[in-house]
C-alpha cells in the first residue's frame, strides 16, 4: 500500500506540470488587458505601457511562462498585479476563511445526509422514505443565494438572532454553514439511499439474514459499511468542490474566501493570482482523490492497491 501511495504521489508531479501549461496559456487567451484594467479608464497610453513593463507583461508569452515556472519551483508564485502582495500570502489569507466555511458545512451535512439516506433505504417505499427524499430534493433544488438571503432576512433582520455578515463569532457560522451544507446533505442523502438499497440486495446480506443475525447488525455491520464506498467517493468530490471556495456563500455573507478571490482576480486579469489559485485547486482535487482511494482500503480491506 505504501508503495502504491508513493507512486501516486510521484504521479502528481507530471500532472501538475501539464495543468500548469494549460492554466497559464488558457488564462492568457481570455480577452482583456490587466494593465489597462488596473490603470483605469482615465489612464494615458504611457501609464498603461509602464504598468505592462513593470510586470513583464510585454515579454513574449513563452518567456513569461518560463519565468513563472522558474519562480514557482523556488516556491514563489509571484505577486498580484492588482495589490502587489505575494500570491502565496494572499491565498493563505483567503484559504483560512474557505477552510472555516468548509468545516462549518461538513460538520453536520454528511452525517445528516447519510442518516437520511440510510433511513430512507431501510423504510423504502414507506412514508418515511417519501418524507426523507422530499426533504433531500428540496435541499438540492433550493438555490444557495436564495437560502442565504432568506436566512439573513429571517434570522438577522427580523429576529436579530444572527449576524448577516462575517465569521467573527460562532453565530456568524450558522447561516453560511446552512448554505454550504444543505447541498451536500441532499446529495449524500440521495446517494447513500441508492447505494444502501443496492447493497441490501447483495447475497451476503441475504446470507446474514439467513444466519439469523439481528436486523440491526445486518443493516449497519453488513449493508451500511459496504454502501459507504460510493458515498465516500461522492463526499470527496463535494469537498474538493467546496475547497475551491463557494462564490455564492462568500459573496452573500461577505467572507473574503478563495472563491471571491478567484472572481475578483479574473475581473482584473490578475494572472499570477488566477494561476496560483487554479494550481492550488487542482492540487487539492488530486490530493482528495488520493485520500478517497486510500479510504477505500480502510472501508473494504478486500480492495488491493497494485
Amino acid at each position: 500500500m505504501s508503495r502504491y501511495f508513493i507512486k501516486r504521489l510521484l504521479q502528481i508531479i507530471p500532472l501538475m506540470l501539464i495543468i500548469s501549461i494549460f492554466v497559464f496559456f488558457f488564462i492568457h487567451m481570455i480577452p482583456g488587458d490587466p494593465a489597462k484594467t488596473l490603470a483605469g479608464v482615465e489612464a494615458s497610453v504611457e501609464e498603461v505601457e509602464a504598468i505592462r513593463e513593470e510586470f513583464g507583461l510585454n515579454k513574449p508569452i513563452i518567456v513569461q511562462y518560463f519565468d513563472y515556472m522558474k519562480n514557482l519551483l523556488h516556491g514563489d508564485m509571484g505577486r498580484s498585479l492588482k495589490s502587489n502582495l505575494p500570491v502565496t500570502e494572499m491565498i493563505a489569507s483567503r484559504m483560512q476563511y474557505t477552510l472555516r466555511l468548509v468545516f462549518a458545512g461538513i460538520l453536520w451535512a454528511p452525517v445528516l445526509g447519510i442518516f437520511i439516506g440510510v433511513i430512507c433505504a431501510i423504510y423504502r417505499g414507506r412514508a418515511l422514505d417519501h418524507a426523507g427524499m422530499l426533504f433531500a430534493i428540496t435541499g438540492l433544488s433550493a438555490p444557495g443565494f436564495w437560502l442565504g438571503l432568506m436566512g439573513i432576512e429571517i434570522f438577522a433582520v427580523r429576529l436579530g438572532w444572527l449576524p448577516s455578515a462575517g465569521l467573527d463569532t460562532w453565530k456568524g457560522y450558522v447561516l453560511p454553514s446552512l448554505v454550504m451544507g444543505t447541498g451536500i446533505m441532499a446529495v449524500l442523502a440521495r446517494y447513500s439511499r441508492s447505494s444502501m438499497l443496492e447493497t441490501l440486495r447483495e447475497d451476503y446480506v441475504r446470507t446474514a439474514r439467513a444466519k439469523g443475525q439481528k436486523e440491526f447488525i445486518v443493516m449497519f455491520s453488513h449493508a451500511f459499511k459496504n454502501s459507504l464506498i460510493q458515498v465516500v467517493t461522492i463526499l470527496g468530490l463535494q469537498i474538493g468542490g467546496l475547497l475551491s471556495g463557494s462564490v455564492i456563500t462568500e459573496t452573500i455573507f461577505s467572507i473574503p474566501g478563495m472563491g471571491r478571490l478567484l472572481i475578483d482576480s479574473i475581473f482584473y486579469r490578475d494572472y499570477p493570482v488566477i494561476q496560483g489559485l487554479l494550481m492550488i485547486f487542482a492540487l487539492q482535487y488530486v490530493l482528495i482523490n488520493l485520500i478517497v482511494d486510500m479510504l477505500y482500503g480502510v472501508i473494504n480491506p478486500k480492495i488491493r492497491y497494485d
Partner: protein, 524 residues
C-alpha cells in the same frame, strides 16, 4: 502676482445655475434621537480598494478609503468650490503659469515625519520617477515644483492649464520616508496627514482605520472606521437594517423602497457625476456600404426616439436625471442645452430624409452586469420604434475594454453603451478622452470616431485660457456643438444613492454626494 483667495475662486467655478450640488438627504419623520451601540463606525462598500497606496489606486473605492488617510493641498467642498486643506491659501502668477501655496504649519504625518514644502516636492519627484503611478495624470502638465521656504511651495506649469486646480485636488501628500520604502510598505501602512490611520486590512475583506489622535484640525469622534466589503446588495441593506453597518455605499436604486420607511435610516440622493451615453460609430459601414451614423440626421433621430425620462424610471427606478448636456451638472462649466424630447414622428422623418426610413441593423457593446444589460435592452426597445434593430453584445467589462480600445481600422464597435465621470470634476476631463478628434482608440475612448475641428479647437484653446469667463464661454460652445451633432445617444445621469443610520453625525460631502469622513461621528 494677484492674490486669489478661496472666496474669489468660488466665482471661478462657473457652474450652471441649476447645479447646486448640495447633498440632499431627507430627515423628516426620522428618528434622530437613535443611539449607536458603540463608537466604531462600519461602512459597507460594494467592492474593495485595489491598492492602499494613494498614488497607485485607480478605482473609486480605493479613493473612498485612502481619502480618509491622505490629504491634498486643496479640495472640493459640497458646493463644488475649491477650498484649502493642507495649504492655507494660494496665489497664481499673472501669466497663469506659477501657483504658490502657503502651507499649514505644525502638521505631522502618521509616521511622525513633519509636513512641509519638501513633502510636496517629494511627491512630485515620486511621480516623475515612476510612470506607472496614477500620479502621472496629475503632474503631466507640470514643469517644476520648488520649495521656496519651509512652508511655501511653488508649482510651475509647462503652459497655462485650466484643469490644474481640479487635478491638484487629487495630488495626495504622503510622507517622504514612507514613499522611500515603496508600494509594499504603503499597501500595509498609512503615512498621510489624514484623520484616520490604517490599522488592519484583509484584502477583499475589510480595511480598519483608527482615529488619528494628532490630527491637525477638527477631526472625527469615532474610535475607528472600518470599510467592509459587502458585494451582495441584499446583504449590504440587511447590515444597515440590523445596525451591523452604519453607512452603506452604494444603495441600489431598486432597493430604496425597502428601507425608505425605516425611521433609523436616512437616504442620500444626489445627482452623481456618472453620465450615461451610447457612442455611435460615425465610420460604421452597413453591408451595402452606407454609413448611417455619418449622417447627423440619423444620429439626431436616435436621440428623438429615445425617452430619457422613461429610461430613468425603468432602469433606475426614477433615481436618475434627464441629460441636459454632454456631461453631469456637477462638473465645472456645465452649460445646459435644450433636451431632445421624445418625438417619434420627427425621428422618423429625419430617418427618411437621410434615406434610412427602413432602418438598419446594428450591434451594441455592453457590460454583462444586470443594470447595464437592462439599460441596453431599453435602448434596443426605443430604437426599434424607428426600425433600428439593435443586437446586444454583452461581455464582461474587461473584455469590452479590449474591444473598445481597437483602432479605427480594426474596430468592431458599432455602438457602445457606457458611462463616464471625471473624478476631479473637470470639464476637459469630461470631454477630451471621449470626444476629442485626437482621442480615437487606443489613445482615448472616442469610439464614435467623431472628429469635429471646431470642437477640438475649443477644447484645446480653453485648456490654456486663464480668464474664467472665456473658459466658460469656450466650454459652453463646445457643449452646444456636441449636443447638436449627437455623436452619442444621450441617456441620463444617475443619482448617487447612499444610506446611513440616523445616529451617524458629522457627514460632509464632496460634489455629487461623495461622502467625506473627516468629522464623522456616532450619536452615543
Amino acid at each position: 502676482m494677484k492674490k486669489i483667495t478661496a472666496i474669489l475662486l468660488t466665482g471661478i467655478m462657473m457652474f450652471s445655475l441649476a447645479a447646486t450640488a448640495n447633498a440632499s438627504s431627507k430627515t423628516d419623520g426620522k428618528d434622530m434621537e437613535a443611539k449607536a451601540p458603540d463608537n466604531d463606525m462600519v461602512v459597507a462598500l460594494q467592492a474593495d480598494a485595489t491598492h492602499l497606496d494613494p498614488h497607485v489606486s485607480s478605482n473609486g473605492y480605493s479613493n473612498t478609503i485612502t481619502n480618509s488617510m491622505y490629504e491634498t493641498l486643496l479640495t472640493f467642498n459640497e458646493n463644488s468650490e475649491v477650498v484649502p486643506l493642507l495649504a492655507k491659501d494660494w496665489s497664481v502668477s499673472d501669466d497663469g503659469l506659477s501657483y504658490t501655496f502657503n502651507l499649514n504649519e505644525g502638521i505631522t504625518f502618521h509616521d511622525g515625519e513633519a509636513f512641509n514644502a519638501e513633502s510636496v516636492v517629494a511627491v512630485y519627484e515620486r511621480g516623475l520617477a515612476d510612470e506607472s503611478l496614477t500620479l502621472q495624470r496629475t503632474i503631466s502638465a507640470w514643469e517644476s515644483v520648488t520649495a521656496d521656504d519651509e512652508y511655501v511651495v511653488t508649482i510651475k506649469l509647462k503652459e497655462p492649464n485650466n484643469t490644474f486646480i481640479n487635478k491638484i485636488t487629487q495630488f495626495r501628500i504622503v510622507s517622504k520616508a514612507a514613499m522611500d520604502q515603496g508600494k509594499d510598505y504603503l499597501a500595509k501602512n498609512s503615512a498621510g496627514t489624514g484623520p484616520f490611520i490604517l490599522e488592519d486590512r484583509v484584502d477583499g475583506g475589510y480595511t480598519k482605520l483608527v482615529r488619528n489622535e494628532n490630527y491637525w484640525q477638527d477631526g472625527p469622534t469615532v474610535d475607528s472606521l472600518t470599510f467592509q466589503v459587502v458585494p451582495e446588495d441584499g446583504a449590504r441593506i440587511a447590515m444597515l437594517q440590523t445596525g451591523e453597518a452604519d453607512i452603506i455605499m452604494p444603495l441600489p436604486a431598486m432597493d430604496v423602497e425597502r428601507i425608505q420607511d425605516d425611521p433609523t435610516i436616512i437616504i442620500d440622493n444626489n445627482p452623481s457625476i456618472t453620465y450615461r451615453y451610447v457612442t455611435l460609430n460615425t465610420e460604421m459601414e452597413l453591408p451595402d456600404g452606407r454609413k448611417p451614423f455619418a449622417d447627423k440626421r440619423v444620429r439626431q433621430a436616435l436621440n428623438y426616439a429615445f425617452d430619457s425620462e422613461a429610461y430613468a424610471k425603468v432602469v433606475f427606478s426614477g433615481y436618475a436625471v434627464e441629460p441636459t448636456s454632454i456631461y453631469s451638472q456637477n462638473i465645472m462649466y456645465f452649460s445646459p442645452q435644450t433636451p431632445y424630447k421624445p418625438d417619434i414622428e420627427k425621428a422618423k422623418s429625419l430617418m427618411a430624409e437621410a434615406g434610412f426610413e427602413d432602418g438598419f441593423d446594428v450591434s451594441i457593446i455592453v457590460d454583462n452586469t444586470s443594470i447595464e444589460m437592462k439599460g441596453a435592452e431599453f435602448v434596443k426597445q426605443q430604437l426599434a420604434q424607428i426600425n433600428v434593430n439593435v443586437e446586444l453584445l454583452a461581455n464582461e467589462s474587461t473584455a469590452n475594454a479590449e474591444l473598445t480600445s481597437a483602432p479605427l481600422e480594426e474596430t468592431t464597435v458599432q455602438m457602445w453603451y457606457v458611462n463616464w465621470g471625471s473624478g476631479s470634476y473637470e470639464a476637459d476631463g469630461s470631454m477630451r478622452s471621449i470626444l476629442h478628434g485626437e482621442k480615437f482608440p487606443p489613445s482615448g475612448y472616442n469610439t464614435a470616431f467623431w472628429n469635429n475641428e471646431e470642437f477640438n479647437t475649443l477644447l484645446d484653446d480653453a485648456l490654456k485660457m486663464t480668464d474664467t469667463d472665456e473658459i466658460a464661454d469656450a466650454y459652453a460652445k463646445a457643449q452646444a456643438i456636441a449636443w447638436e451633432e449627437c455623436p452619442w445617444i444621450f441617456l441620463g445621469n444617475d443619482n448617487a444613492l447612499n444610506a446611513y443610520k440616523s445616529y451617524v453625525t458629522g457627514i460632509s460631502y464632496k460634489p455629487a454626494g461623495e461622502i467625506v469622513f473627516t468629522t464623522i461621528g456616532l450619536n452615543l
